[in-house]
Amino acid sequence: MAVLQLRTGLTPEERQLRQKLILRDTAALMSLFAIAILLFFITLFLFHSFSVHRQELAQRWLQRGEKALQSNQPLAAIDALRSALAYAPDDEKLQIELAEALAAAGRTEEAVAYFNTLLESRPGNGMINLQLARLAAKEGEEAAALDYYQAALDGTWEGDGYIRRREVRLELAQYLIDRLHFDRARNQLLIAAGNAPDDVNIELQVAGMQEKAQDPANALHLYQKALQHRPARLEALEGASRAASAHNRFLLAKEYLERTLNHADFEKQPAEVQAQFRNMLSDADHILLLYPGPELSVRARAERILADRKIAQERLADCLISKSTVPPALQTLADQWRQLPSTLRLTQLEQDPELEETIMQLVYRTEQITSQQCGAPTGNDALLLKMSQAPEAIERQ
C-alpha cells in the first residue's frame, strides 16, 4: 500500500498525488470488499435454495423408488433410486436399496459390483455382506454365500444389530436347510434359540425351522417354552404335537393333540389340517394302546406284548410269502423268531421280563426290516414301526 511508504524528496504536488492515490486505492479495496460481501450473500441465497431443492428432490425420488420396489417394478425403482442418489449421494440406505433393486431386476452383475464397492468403503457392514450373501446364494455360489452370511453375522449393524443378527442367522439356517445341510442348520438354530428373547413369535419361528432341520427334540423344547405364554397359541400346540410325535413322545403328543383339537381356533383351520391332527391323535392313541409301557400292570403289559408279537409275525409271514427268494436279512429274522417259543402264555411272560424285552426288540426289528424289504407298512405295523424308532420315549413326559 502506498500509505506505508516512507519516501522523501517528493514535491508538494507529488505528495498530494500520493495522498489521492492512497485514498483511491483504499476506496477501490473497500469497493472490492463490498462487492465480495454482496456476491457472497447472493451466492449464499442461491446455494441455500439449491440445497433445499436438492433435498426435496432426493426425498421425492426415494419415495418413488421405494414405491416401485414395493410394487415389484425394479427397473423403475433403479431409475428412481439412481436419481435420488444423484441428490443425496451419501445416503447409505439409498445405496443399499439401489443395489437391492439392481438385484431384484436380475442385473446381478451390476448389483454385485455395486455391493462390492460399498463393501470396500465399509468392509464390516452387516447389511452389505448380507446382500452379497443373498446374491451369491442366488447365483448358486454356496461357499461365497456362506462366507458372506458369516461376515454379515460378524459385521456391524446400526442400532438394531441384535435383532438383525438373529434374522441373518435364521436366514442362514434356512439356506442351510434348503441345501440339506441339517447339521449346520441345527447349530445355527440352537445359537439363534439361545440368543433369542422370551418372545412367543420368535420361539415359534425358530422351533418351526428346527422341525424342518430334523431337530424335533429342540423344536419341542421351544414349543413348550412358547406354550408357557398365556393364552396358549394354537401354532404352539400344533408344533408341540408335531414335534412330540416326531420325537416319539406319543404320550406327550396325545396331550398336546387333545389340547390342539380343543383349542378355540382349531375349527378355523383348513379341513385338511384338522384331519391331519385328528389322524395324529388317533395314531398316538393307538400307539399308546400298542405300547407295553412300564406303567401298565404286568398282565396288561404281557397282553400287549403278545398282541404286538402277533402283528409282527404276521407282517413277517406276509413279507416272506411275497418273496420268491428270501433275503438274508429276512431269513435271519425268521430264524430269530424260531428260536423263541412258538406258543407263549401270559403267565410265562409275566414271570420273564427278559423275554418280554427280547420279544419287543424282535417286534421292532421285524417292522424295521420288513419295511426295508417289503415296503412301507400300514395300520398297526406302521404304528409299531414308529414306536421302534425310540420306544423308550413313548411315554416320556
Partner: protein, 584 residues
C-alpha cells in the same frame, strides 16, 4: 479471438470528481512499491471473488439442468432431444451476436489474454462466458465448467487489476492468478489448479507470480469448500493398492487411456476445423445440431453423457455400472463432446476428459473385479487413475495429472499406479499425436501461442556446454610485469589470466599490460597494477546467457570449480558462447 486490447491509459472516476490519471512513471516515482504490495492483497480478493463466481456458476448450471432437463433425465424423454437443441441455437445466437469471445473452452482465451493482450479480459467476456456456458452445460451439452471457470477467474483478475491501475507487467501476471483461482474453485483442488496453470498457461515456474497464484487458489478453494464441502465433484472412494500384480492392470489402463486420448484428440482435431470452415451463417445452427445429436444419445439410452456428468463419475467410482456399460459411456462421451465442442458451444474439456477417464478406469477395474476377484484394487481407484491417464494423455499435463489424483484421493498409496499409467498414457498419446490438443486449437484459430509442452522441455544451455580447457597463459599475481610480458609473448597470447592470492582472477589483455608500462617498472608485481575489479565468479552450471553482458569488459572468462575456491574448470570467450548457441 475478439478480445479487445487494453487501452494505453485508463481514465477513471473517483466519486463525482474527475481526476487526472497517473502515468506509470508518476506511480513509479510517488509509490514505487505500490504494485508489489497490492499484488498480494488483490490475489486474495481475486481468489474470493473467483470462488464466489464459480460457485454461482455451478449452481446456475445445476438449476438450469433441473429446470430444463428435469430432476432425473431418463432415456426416452423427448425433452432430451429438444432442450439441448434449442439451447444450442440460443447460445450460438448469443455468442455470435453479443459474446464472440465466449466461444470455446477458455484455456486458450486466457493464454491469449496473457501473451497477446497484456492480460486484458473484458467484463463482457466474463459475463458472456458465465451465461452461455451455464446455459449450454445446464441444457445437456457434453461440456464441463472448469475451463470456463478458469476464464471467469482470469477475467475477474483482469478487471480487478485494471481497476487498481496496476502496471502493464503486473496486469499481465494477474491473468494466471485469476485462472488458478477459478480452476481451483471448480476442481476444489488447489494444488492441481496451481500446477495446471503453471504447466499449461504460464509454462514455467516463476517465483514472481507463484506466491500470488497460491494465495488466490487457496482463497477460492476456501470459499468453494465453505459451500460445497471438501468433496464437491464426487465422493472419493476407498483407494488401495496391496498387490503389485495389479500394476499390470494399471499399465493396461494406461495403454487404453493413451489410445482413448488419441481418438478424442483426433476426432476434435478433425471435426472442429471442418465445422469452422463452413459458411458463417451455419455457426448459428451448429450448436443446435450438436445439441440434437447429443440429446439423441441420451434419448436412445445414455443420458449420462449429457452435461458434465459428475454424478455419473461418482456412480462409476462406486461400482454402480457393469464394465460394458462403462466402456460404452466412455466411447459415447468422446462422440458427444467432440460434437458439442467442435460446434463452438462454450464449455470446457476438463469434465469430459475426467468423465472418459473415470469410465475407462472403472471399466478396467470392474472387469478385473469380475474376472480376477482375488486382486484387491477397488473400482474407484481405477476410475481415479483413469482420470489421471486422460489428463496426461489428452490435456498433456503430466505433472497436474499425477498431483490431481493424489490430491483428490488424499492417498499416496496410489502413487505408483498413477505414475505408471499416466506415463504410459502420456507417451502413447504423445508419440501418436505430437501436437497437444490446446495447441491444435490455437493453430486452428490462427493464433501463435507458445507451446507449453515445448517450453517445459526446452533445454537451457549452460556454461559447461561452451567450456574449453584453459589454453591462455595463467600468471600469478606476484609475478612481475616483465615475466608476464615474456610469457604472453612466448605464447603469442592476446589475453591471459592473473591468479590472485585471495583466489580471485583477473583477465588481462596484452594491451593492458603494455599500457601499464609508463606508470610502473618491469619489476613491479602484476597485482599492483591491476584495478580493483575482478572477473565475475562463474560456475559451469550457470546459464550460458549469464556471460554475455561480461564480454564487452572481459576478453576471456574463467569458470571456477564450486568445490575448491580459485580452481579453474576452464574458460569461455564470446566466440565460444556464440558458437555454442549456433550449434543448438
Amino acid at each position: 479471438m475478439s478480445v479487445q486490447p487494453m487501452p494505453e491509459t485508463v481514465t477513471r472516476k473517483f466519486g463525482k470528481a474527475a481526476y487526472r490519471p497517473l502515468t506509470q512513471a508518476e506511480l513509479e516515482k510517488i509509490a514505487p512499491t505500490r504494485d508489489e504490495r497490492l499484488f498480494l492483497v488483490l490475489s486474495i480478493f481475486i481468489g474470493v471473488l473467483s470462488g464466489l463466481l464459480v460457485v454461482s456458476f455451478r449452481i446456475a448450471i445445476e438449476w438450469i439442468k433441473i429446470l430444463t432437463l428435469g430432476s432425473a433425465p431418463h432415456a426416452g424423454q423427448f425433452r432430451l432431444l429438444i432442450v439441448p437443441a434449442v439451447a444450442g441455437l440460443f447460445v450460438a445466437a448469443l455468442v455470435h451476436l453479443f459474446f464472440p469471445a465466449a466461444r470455446g473452452s477458455g484455456v486458450n482465451q486466457t493464454k491469449a489474454a496473457l501473451y497477446i493482450y497484456n492480460g486484458y479480459i473484458s467484463f463482457k467476456t466474463v459475463i458472456g462466458k458465465f451465461i452461455t456456458a451455464a446455459l449450454a452445460i445446464g441444457c445437456g451439452h457434453s461440456l464441463g465448467p472448469e475451463d470456463p471457470s478458469l476464464q471467469i477467474g482470469a477475467g475477474v483478475a483482469s478487471m480487478v487489476a485494471r481497476r487498481l491501475n496496476l502496471s502493464r507487467q503486473r496486469l499481465r501476471l494477474f491473468a494466471p492468478i485469476g485462472a488458478a483461482a477459478g480452476l481451483a474453485a471448480a476442481f476444489n483442488a488447489p494444488i492441481s489448479a496451481i500446477l495446471f496453470v503453471i504447466e499449461e498457461v504460464i509454462g514455467q515456474w516463476s517465483a514472481a507470480v507463484l506466491g500470488s497464484i497460491v494465495l488466490s487458489a487457496i482463497s477460492s478453494v476456501v470459499v468453494a469448500r465453505w459451500f460445497w464441502g471438501s468433496e464437491p465433484l464426487f465422493r472419493i472412494p476407498t483407494v488401495t493398492m496391496r498387490d503389485p500384480r495389479e500394476l499390470i492392470a494399471y499399465a493396461i489402463l494406461g495403454v487404453a487411456g493413451g489410445f482413448a486420448a488419441l481418438v478424442f484428440s483426433k476426432a476434435l482435431g478433425y471435426l472442429r476445423p471442418q465445422l469452422r470452415a463452413l459458411p458463417q451463417w451455419t455457426y448459428y445452427f451448429q450448436s443446435g445440431i450438436a445439441g440434437l445429436l447429443v440429446g439423441m444419445i441420451g434419448f436412445l439410452g445414455f443420458p449420462q453423457v449429457m452435461g458434465p456428468g459428475y454424478e455419473v463419475m461418482d456412480q462409476a467410482m462406486h461400482g454402480q455400472f457393469a464394465w460394458k456399460v462403462l466402456l460404452a459411456l466412455a466411447l459415447l462421451k468422446i462422440l458427444a463432446t467432440t460434437l458439442s465442442f467442435s460446434s463452438g458451444t462454450p464449455g470446457g474439456m476438463f469434465a469430459p476428459t475426467m468423465f472418459i477417464g473415470a469410465m475407462l478406469g472403472a471399466s478396467v477395474g470392474s472387469f478385473e473385479k469380475l474376472f480376477f476377484p482375488h486382486l484387491t484394487g477397488t473400482v474407484g481407484a481405477y476410475a481415479l487413475v483413469g482420470i489421471g491417464v486422460l489428463f496426461a494423455g489428452f490435456l498433456r499435463a503430466p505433472l497436474t495429472s499425477v498431483f490431481m489424483v493424489l490430491e483428490v484421493s488424499g492417498n499416496y498409496s496410489i502413487v505408483l499406479p498413477v505414475i505408471l499409467a499416466n506415463m504410459i498414457g502420456y507417451l502413447i498419446s504423445r508419440a501418436l499425436q505430437p501436437v497437444p490438443i490446446f495447441e491444435v486449437f490455437t493453430h486452428q484459430d490462427g493464433l501463435e501461442l507458445p507451446s507449453m509442452e515445448e517450453a517445459r522441455e526446452e533445454s537451457e544451455l549452460h556454461l559447461e556446454d561452451a567450456l574449453r580447457p584453459v589454453d591462455v597463459p595463467v600468471i600469478k599475481g606476484q609475478q612481475t610485469i616483465a615475466e608476464a610480458a615474456q610469457i604472453a609473448a612466448a605464447e603469442n597470447a592476446s589475453a591471459f589470466l592473473v591468479s590472485l592470492r585471495d583466489g580471485s582472477w583477473y583477465a588481462m589483455t596484452a594491451h593492458e599490460l603494455t599500457s601499464a608500462g609508463p606508470t610502473s617498472t618491469p619489476d613491479t608485481a602484476i597485482e599492483r597494477i591491476l584495478p580493483a575489479e575482478r572477473t565475475p565468479i562463474l560456475f559451469p552450471d550457470m546459464p550460458l546467457d549469464s556471460t554475455l553482458h561480461h564480454f564487452p569488459r572481459w576478453p576471456v572468462l574463467p569458470i571456477m570449480n564450486r568445490a575448491s575456491k580459485g580452481k579453474l574448470e576452464g574458460i569461455v570467450t564470446q566466440d565460444d558462447v556464440l558458437q555454442c548457441y549456433q550449434k543448438h
